[in-house]
């Protein structure tokens, strides 16, 4: 367990309004994923966020280019103080394969 600075906790209210970008990377990533799921522009559960060296990296697949761009937009709105790298791709839809599988 990490030792804490003596006398740090004074019983006062926690510091309000701490910028999200100053929080641990895992919390930032979780906040971005929550925004992607809840924001009506995206409602996206299949994109994973990772924070590395102060950059939010987005990975996953979506159905179209407009949605791919909205993913980046919502992520940037969720953490305006950090850069976002959008590595989300658009799912390919190839013709069905001529060979069927026999079960």
């Amino acid at each position: 367990m990490t030792s804490r600075e003596p006398g740090k906790h004074t019983g006062a209210q926690p510091a309000a309004g701490q910028p999200l970008e100053d929080q641990p990377p895992d919390y930032i990533a979780a906040q971005v994923e929550r925004a992607l799921a809840r924001d009506p522009r995206t409602h996206e559960l299949g994109v994973r966020a990772e924070v590395a060296d102060g950059v939010v990296i987005l990975r996953g697949q979506v159905a179209g280019e407009e949605r791919r761009q909205l993913i980046g937009e919502v992520a940037r709105d969720a953490v305006p103080g950090l850069a976002a790298r959008n590595e989300v791709s658009v799912t390919e839809v190839l013709p069905p394969e001529p060979q069927e599988e026999h079960l």
Partner: protein, 237 residues
């Protein structure tokens, strides 16, 4: 032999209209039925489901669907179901249908299904009411689907769900989220009904092939897994 085409997680909407339809022409030459494994829309809205109806209507083969969690987002699942039925599709939830096809009678029972996890790594109906409700919802949907499947007088039985019935087909997804991706209740219900095939979606980063503890084949047909408009699985000789 019955040829079962299937795809799920097409997440259609006005912005991606016409994405699948070009690949569906002539589907009757390759398959006897098309199963849709939920998440037909992204937001569960009426304008999106109209796109789905246009995309999958008048294919020349029966279309049987279940809804997915995305299709429930706007609490319009009943209206969505009505639009699909008006377009000639069958929508299942704790219910089944028997289709008389050239290769025999195909029974399909379906449910959206739900999460809860897999043996040894799942939730229990214990403790807080929220936890009990979560697991109970999953169990009830699976039980209803299993009863529907058992009641089908058919040569082959298929269980169609959105959530995954086994962990095999989740390989590729982070294992921490498995309990949100499916429930073994679905596999157990299908095994008890001696299902010949289980088809599901939901796990975009999962893998296509698996099997139930009872040995029935399981196929994850999520579009991001297949990367093709549909897969075809053949039952019987």
């Amino acid at each position: 032999m019955i040829r079962v085409a299937a795809v799920g997680d097409v997440h259609l909407g006005p912005d991606v209209r016409g994405r699948i339809r070009p690949h569906l022409s002539g589907i009757g030459e390759h398959a006897d039925v098309l199963l849709l494994a939920g998440d037909l829309t992204q937001h569960g809205t009426m304008d999106e489901i109209e796109v789905v109806a246009t995309e999958f209507r008048d294919l020349g083969v029966p279309v049987v669907a279940v809804l997915g969690n995305h299709d429930y987002q706007c609490d319009m699942e009943e209206e969505i179901t009505a639009v699909l039925r008006d377009a000639g599709m069958t929508v299942l939830e704790g219910s089944g249908i028997v289709l008389s096809l050239p290769g025999g009678r195909l029974g399909v029972a379906g449910s959206k299904g739900f999460g809860g996890g897999f043996p040894g790594r799942g939730g229990s109906e214990f403790g807080e009411p929220e936890m009990k409700a979560f697991v109970r919802h999953s169990r009830r949907l699976a039980t209803a689907m299993g009863e529907a499947l058992c009641g089908l007088d058919a040569d082959y039985r298929v269980a169609l769900t959105h959530y995954a019935p086994v962990a095999d087909t989740l390989e590729g997804e982070p294992c921490e989220i498995y309990p949100f991706l499916g429930s073994y209740f679905l596999a157990e219900a299908a095994d008890n009904a001696e299902a010949d095939l289980l088809v599901h979606g939901h796990a975009h980063a999962g893998s296509e092939c698996g099997k139930t503890p009872g040995g029935a084949p399981v196929r994850n047909v999520a579009l991001p897994v297949l990367h093709r408009a549909y897969a075809v699985y053949c039952l019987g000789e």
